[in-house]
Symmetry: C2
Subunit: 143 residues, 2 copies
Amino acid sequence: MKTEQPQPQPGHESGPEPDSYSISDLAREFGITTRAIRFYEDKGLLSPARRGQTRIYSPEDRVRLMLILRGKRLGFSLDESREIIDMYDPEHGNVEQLQRLLQHIEQKRAQLQQQLRDIQSLMGELDEAEARTRASLAQTQEQ
Amino acid sequence: MKTEQPQPQPGHESGPEPDSYSISDLAREFGITTRAIRFYEDKGLLSPARRGQTRIYSPEDRVRLMLILRGKRLGFSLDESREIIDMYDPEHGNVEQLQRLLQHIEQKRAQLQQQLRDIQSLMGELDEAEARTRASLAQTQEQ
DNA sequence: GCAGAGGCTTACGTTAACGTAAACGTAAAG
DNA sequence: CTTTACGTTTACGTTAACGTAAGCCTCTGC
């Protein structure tokens, strides 16, 4: 089912940004399965609109999906990704919750800094590994 | 069982680097369970020496364990970590294997660069989230 | 009017990475 | 000599994150 795009405000939006997506649109764009997308919804990470039974994804839904996938690339669980995404919307009423959110942000920041260090060292080691490999390759070739 | 440290070359090594560790030594140091360490061995990531049945870990084994845990922090699977660790020792004989190793290194590098970008953007967003939270907190307090 | 091309729900299967527990061996300490 | 601490193997259990059907609905093109 191709989600129809009647170009709502005619000739005004220049960039090609659709205002809704089908589930397979998103699956194709991000190289995942529709099953995965529905799974994320099951886990409370997405809640697209419905036309009848059919899911209709807004650009905001698409952004959330991108955030989920970025979280995966960083090794976050879906629960962690949801927590991070939930930091965006300001529905946090009382002071305690805001304090805990700040702590949470600090924790994430610390984790990201650790990841940064890890990446730096691994990058350096990859450089060395590449050098050794090229050396080994050169030696193999000159014989 | 405390692995005995008879200080083999007497009064020569100044730094406190033990030359062997028990499984619970390592478990304690890295905040994991002995079960996990044995699991890594099952998966071929470690192969410590044995005194009878008991596992004896060398400093090199300890380093491998550190690399495994760094891999985990970066969201790598144990298989991926093993592949990366295997890049270190030069047992790669023929040219094809070396070529594939180089490709492999390039892939990892690309992945790490993606992670770097991901971390940068997430860091920025954490800054914004913190700012919003502090603003929200200030507003709550001034009423 | 019917064959595809999507989409939906429900449900069982699968893999990775351990957790948990049982049942046993051994060495030092009281 | 028995408790305590640590170690071992074996094996079943668990959670996350989907994969893989099966069975059914609905619109579109021919």
